[in-house]
Symmetry: C2
Subunit: 210 residues, 2 copies
C-alpha cells in the first residue's frame, strides 16, 4: 500500500525513507568532517570514513556516488560554517572597514586552524567534474560574500567609489587565498602572531589604510 509516514525535517515534509536516507548521509558526512578537521585531508578515505560512521566501506556507495561527492558536501558545509563564524566574531562591530577586516581575519583564522579544509576547498584537484563548477564558484566568492555587507555600507556612505569597491573585492579575492597558501606551505613553523602581522599589512594595503 502506498502510505508513507511523514516526518518533519527543516520544515519540509518527507517520507520515512527519505528521512532515513538523510540520516545515513549525515553519519557519513559527520564522519568525513571530523576526520578532515582532526587528521586532515590525507586521512580521509573510503574505509576510514565508513568505519567512523559505523558501516562497511561499501555502504558509503549506497548513499553517495563516490567519495568525491561526499567530500564536496563537506566543502559546502565548511564554507557555511566559516561564513557564520566570521559573522559571529564581528557581531559587536559597526559596519565598515574595521568589521570587514575582522571578518577577513576570521576567514583566515578558520582555514589556518583547519588546514585540511583549506586544502580541500582551494586546492584539491576536485577530480570529479560534476560538482566542481558549483562548488568552486562558492569557494571563490567566499570573500565577496563575507565582505559584501561592509562594502555595500561603505558605498552607501560614499566612503568608497564603485571602482574602489571593485578593486577591493578583487584584491581580497586574490590575497586571502594567497596568504593562506603561504601559511599552509610554510617552511619553518611560523609564529602565528608574526603571520598575523603580515596579514594585517596585507589587509591594510587592500583597504588603503596607509
Amino acid at each position: 500500500m502506498f502510505i508513507y509516514l511523514k516526518a518533519k525535517i527543516n520544515g519540509t515534509m518527507v517520507s520515512n525513507k527519505e528521512l532515513q536516507e538523510k540520516r545515513m548521509r549525515g553519519y557519513f558526512i559527520a564522519a568525513a568532517s571530523e576526520i578532515l578537521k582532526g587528521e586532515g585531508l590525507r586521512a580521509v578515505n573510503v574505509r576510514s570514513v565508513s568505519e567512523r560512521a559505523g558501516y562497511s566501506f561499501a555502504t558509503l556507495y549506497n548513499y553517495f556516488k563516490d567519495l568525491n561527492e561526499l567530500i564536496f558536501i563537506c566543502v559546502n558545509d565548511f564554507l557555511e560554517e566559516c561564513e557564520q563564524m566570521a559573522e559571529e566574531q564581528s557581531q559587536h562591530l559597526q559596519p565598515g572597514k574595521e568589521r570587514l577586516k575582522m571578518r577577513m581575519k576570521a576567514l583566515i583564522n578558520y582555514f589556518t586552524q583547519y588546514q585540511g579544509i583549506f586544502e580541500l576547498c582551494y586546492i584539491e584537484k576536485m577530480n570529479n567534474a560534476g560538482s566542481k563548477q558549483a562548488t568552486s564558484k562558492m569557494v571563490y566568492e567566499l570573500t565577496d560574500r563575507t565582505a559584501d555587507a561592509d562594502i555595500t555600507y561603505m558605498l552607501n556612505k560614499k566612503l568608497l567609489t564603485d571602482e574602489e569597491a571593485e578593486i577591493l573585492k578583487i584584491n581580497l579575492r586574490h590575497s586571502l587565498p594567497g596568504m593562506m597558501l603561504f601559511y599552509l606551505n610554510r617552511m619553518q613553523p611560523v609564529d602565528y602572531k608574526d603571520y598575523m602581522k603580515i596579514v594585517n599589512i596585507q589587509l591594510d594595503a587592500a583597504l588603503r589604510n596607509n
Copy 2:
C-alpha cells in the same frame, strides 16, 4: 684498479660513473617534466615516467629515493625556467614599474600555461618532509626574486620608500598565487583576455597605479 675516466659536465670534472648516473637521472627528470607539462600532475606516476624514460618502473628507484624526490627536482627546474622566462620577456624594458609588471605577468603566463606545474609548485602536499622546506621556500620567494631588481632600482631612485617596498613585496607574494589559484580553479573556461584584465587591475593596485 682505481682509475676513473673523467668527463666534463658543467665545468666540473666527474668520473664516468657519476656522469652515467647524472645522465640516467636526466632521462627520468626529462620524462617527468614532459608528462607534467603535457598531461599534468595527475598523469605522473612511477610507471608512466619510467616508461617514457625507457626503463622499468623499478629502475627509477636506483636513481631516486622515491617519486617525490624526482618531482622536487622538477619543481626546481621549473622555477628556474619561469624566472628565466620573466627575464627574457622583459629584456627590452627599462627597470621600473612597467618591467616589474611585465615580469609578474610572465610568471602568471607560465603557470597558467602549465597548470600541472602550478599545482605541483604551490599546492601539492609535498608528502615527503625531506626536500619540502628548501623547495617551498624557493617557491614563495619566486615573486620576491623576480621583483627584486626593479624594486631595488625604484628604491635607489627614491620612487619607493622602504615601507612601500615591503608592502609591495608582501602584496605580490600573496596575490600572484591567489590569481593563479583563481585561474586554475575557474568554473567556466574564463577568457584569457578577461583574466588578464583582472590581473592588470590587481597588479596596478599592488603598484599603486590608481
